[in-house]
């Protein structure tokens, strides 16, 4: 490891390091495609399952859908270490707040906690997070907190390196008033397309639907993915 770090300092100016392999020098990144969709009564969230260190696939079955509270999840993209650390802190803060309130927390509260952290430490962090869940006041909600620490609520949100390839698909296929099954198919389709095009996304599609009843998780394996592109 010491060799790798010494080599890195010398080599970083040249932009490439041939003396140690990627997995000893590059930061672990959840390359990624993540997505969340609101429907009447809840939200559907989805993510791919690839974690890369440079070009090496360090984990091909990653779980990027992280529970923050009983009815609130977050989708993580960017630096794996940063997003895990932020999610852990917010989980603690939200749990504490919920106990004080003696009520389930609002999704907007969770989203604001993420925003506070991502904005305050924006220079040190590389994290793009989508917060989604259900609460009694406003039902299903999706809030996106991209790199830099902005916060905005959207009916559909995509994130991660693979999201750039599916803006067109999402914009043309989204209809308001979709039910849970339609949202699940829409999300799986969008993620499949992104996973095919983006080298940093791949593996399996993890989906979850969150509603008043609770959280229902499912996995779609590579060979069962919807075939959308006719290539």
């Amino acid at each position: 490891m010491a060799t790798a770090m010494a080599m890195n300092r010398i080599q970083h100016l040249t932009g490439s390091n041939n003396l140690v392999p990627d997995w000893m020098s590059k930061e672990v990144s959840t390359g990624t495609t993540i997505m969340a969709v609101e429907f009447d009564g809840g939200v559907v969230i989805g993510a791919d399952s690839r974690t890369t260190t440079g070009a090496y696939i360090a984990n091909r079955v990653t779980d990027k859908l992280t529970p923050i509270h009983d009815h609130i999840y977050c989708c993580r993209s960017g630096s794996a270490a940063d997003t895990q650390a932020i999610a852990d802190v917010v989980t603690y803060q939200l749990g504490f707040h919920s106990i004080e309130l003696d009520e389930p927390p609002l999704v907007q509260t969770a989203a604001n906690l993420f925003k506070e952290m991502c904005y305050r430490y924006r220079e040190e962090l590389m994290a793009g997070i989508i917060v989604a869940g259900w609460d009694k006041r406003r039902g299903g909600q999706v809030y996106t907190v991209p790199v830099g620490g902005m916060l905005v609520r959207q009916p559909v949100s995509v994130g991660g390196s693979g999201s750039t390839y599916i803006y067109g698909y999402v914009d043309s296929n989204y209809k308001s008033g979709m039910n849970k099954e339609e949202c699940l198919r829409f999300t799986a389709g969008a993620l499949s397309l992104a996973m095919e095009r983006d080298g940093s996304s791949g593996g399996v599609v993890r989906l979850a639907s969150i509603s008043e009843e609770g959280v229902e998780r499912r996995v779609i394996l590579g060979n069962e993915l919807p075939k959308i592109s006719r290539a």
């Binding site: 392999p21 791919d48 090496y56 590579g222």
Partner: protein
């Protein structure tokens, strides 16, 4: 950003009993983005001779074309097919001519001698250093993964059917751990009387 990993890609070759196999992935991408899934990296240079080129895509195409040109002239002058070892020297010469402004490719050659049908595999670096081995050669962005797979799966004197299965599994599992390679695998098995070309069903991510 490394020039050798700008487009990504992987090729390997294995030696068997009176046969050789050469395989490549099919992806053409620009850094993380995939552009096409049917990019040719293995080129036929004789009835029983193939070369696989991994590295910068533009050089893969240019070198294969310039090499074919030199090979055609050789065959016209000599009136016979080239031996694999001689072809290796031809590739080495072509690459070393560009010693101080090289082609960014690392080729892999697999073939049978036109007269004795002796199997032959070798690889070269981007400035033409040749390396002949008895077992397997690999080249590309996932070379570490390919070395691991080959070292564990290869055994000497495999029949063509076994060699096909072995090289297929080695390629598939190596490229599945590399974000810049994959999108399909094509395998050529070269025997005395035929070449079998198969495209494998692979992960498309």
């Amino acid at each position: 950003m490394s020039i050798m990993s700008y487009n990504g890609g992987a090729v390997m070759a294995m030696r068997g009993k009176d046969c050789v196999a050469i395989a490549s992935d099919r992806r053409f991408g620009v850094q993380a983005q995939m552009v096409t899934i049917d990019f040719q990296k293995i080129f036929s240079m004789g009835e029983r001779l193939c070369i696989g080129l991994a590295g910068l895509a533009t050089d893969v195409q240019t070198v294969s074309q310039r090499l074919k040109f030199r090979l055609n002239l050789y065959e016209l002058k000599e009136g016979r097919q080239i031996k694999p070892k001689t072809f290796m020297s031809m590739v080495s010469n072509l690459l070393y001519e560009r010693r101080f402004g090289p082609y960014y490719i690392e080729p892999v050659i697999a073939g049978l001698d036109p007269k004795t049908f002796e199997p032959f595999i070798c690889s070269l670096d981007l400035i033409g250093c040749p390396m002949v081995t008895e077992d397997f050669v690999v080249s590309g962005t996932c070379s570490e993964q390919m070395y691991g797979m080959c070292e564990s799966l290869w055994e000497p004197d495999m029949e063509p059917e076994d060699l096909f299965e072995t090289i297929s599994q080695a390629m598939l599992n190596a490229v599945d751990r590399d974000a810049m390679s994959g999108m399909g695998v094509v395998v050529h098995v070269i025997e005395k009387d035929k070449i079998t070309i198969r495209t494998l069903k692979a992960r498309m991510d």
